[in-house]
Symmetry: C2
Subunit: 323 residues, 2 copies
Amino acid sequence: MTIKEQLLLHLKDNMDAWISGESLSQQLGVSRAAIWKQARNLKEEGYIIQSSPKKGYHLCEISDLLLPGEIRERLGNNLFGGQQIYYYKELETTNLKAKELASQGVPEGTLIIAEKQTKGRGRRGRSWFSPAGYGIYASMVLRPSIAPTEISSITLMAAVSAAEALIALTPLNVRIKWPNDILLNDKKIAGILTEISSDMDIVDYLIIGIGMNINTPKDLFPPEIKETATSILIETNRPFQRVEILSEFLKIYEHYYINFKKSGIEPIMGRWKELANIVGKRIEVDVMGQKYRGDVVEIENGILILKDHGRTHRIFSGDVTIL
Amino acid sequence: MTIKEQLLLHLKDNMDAWISGESLSQQLGVSRAAIWKQARNLKEEGYIIQSSPKKGYHLCEISDLLLPGEIRERLGNNLFGGQQIYYYKELETTNLKAKELASQGVPEGTLIIAEKQTKGRGRRGRSWFSPAGYGIYASMVLRPSIAPTEISSITLMAAVSAAEALIALTPLNVRIKWPNDILLNDKKIAGILTEISSDMDIVDYLIIGIGMNINTPKDLFPPEIKETATSILIETNRPFQRVEILSEFLKIYEHYYINFKKSGIEPIMGRWKELANIVGKRIEVDVMGQKYRGDVVEIENGILILKDHGRTHRIFSGDVTIL
């Protein structure tokens, strides 16, 4: 653990009091100047720390910023969250930054987080409302040895992980809308945007972007999505710690991802089907403007198999309406 | 037409003689200093032009370099070859440069050419032998509105175009090896490397890279590919103009690509099947180490449909051996 991380732990353990620089200096075995320097670094990262020459240091509140130190504290040496984290107050989109970094060669597990996105995007060029401090906007860099046709599996795992993180930490009963939206009472609460760089045989890198509405108040949503989007705050009437939810998501995703590499997607499909509840349903699906109707007979490697009067359609991605 | 292009045409029309600066100045309606400047530009591009204060200018030989001016002369305002061309003496790979440019937003039709690749690549991370001046190493940027599952069609069209360009301009009887190699007597003479940047719904950009062995002498091939690769020179015993073959390929590809946008891949499939001659054959295909055997029943949107004892496999890409 670095001096900075140790200092933060001490401050967190003593939030009801001041600790003198002298005492911190002794406990951490470094000079008072070093303590002062690390406290300044923590302040720059967004922690609200009071300091006084007489009384010492005092952490005023646990930040709800998605600070790399907070995530690493929870995820230790994990692949996701325990490696290099790029943290920004503001980005156009975390996926864009992730692609830029991935094409420069950053390793699998690299995490990109923004407090705010100025051009937040969802699927099919739609925008994703991304106001500062209220949501989670994060992207992961993955480098699995898979064919480009298998990427649906990676997206599907991300949807399951997002749903399970919300189910574990909130009283909410979310479900998955194929392929990758998380809904609560038919309103969008989270979404996954997967992007790849690939040749015909093997993926070079894969970006999983996640957007989650955590503490967004209802009146903040723009009118055009007020009726179709919701947040945990709106549904539960209380704020949630974003860093807890993001960390839980990363932990669950890592579990599934490692399993996928060992055993493929099948073991995860059962859970996905429970959460999506689409197999057996009659649906209409809009694929880039072309519409297909039919009964969902199976989801195979993330691909939706639709039967209509004996004809079979294999749908990779699209907008589903249950009939 | 620019002054430079007009000057080049005049020089080409008079390769058996010298033309005075005075005469060029009158015919092109510009100063002698302007003629001198444009002649220097042509020299810098690789044209071998003699100049003498007394005799004027003389184009010694038609360059076999893949100069943008030569390609544009043949392809006018075409989408491929008539737009921005990035020309390099040497690149790691043209696909890498193309991806870099595409992610910066260059438009569809942008062409990247190198006289030599220092890290020439084929499919599945294999290397592609790319010595200076003997082959064609080029990449195109495409931005079709298609789903990532449709990219096989784009590759397949490129293979047909490469084969047809060779058939049109040489006496050689090439064939296609699914998905994207061009063979002559079972030896590789050209290959296509397709790379994409995409989300789950729609392709952002697509790079078609082509490598062709044109004038490569047999003793230049490294020992490990001497028995599996060939060139037009080896097969015909005479050199061919690379710029003619590249231009023909671009012209044919453009024709198919525009047709594909209007009518889909079906109209091209007939030609592809003739050249590939794989439907109905019993094959083994290696997909990233996993092997499938069966009878090829169809090629559907570029995907190989294999039947084996009632089981159907849908193969996106792989290494085929005919049994």
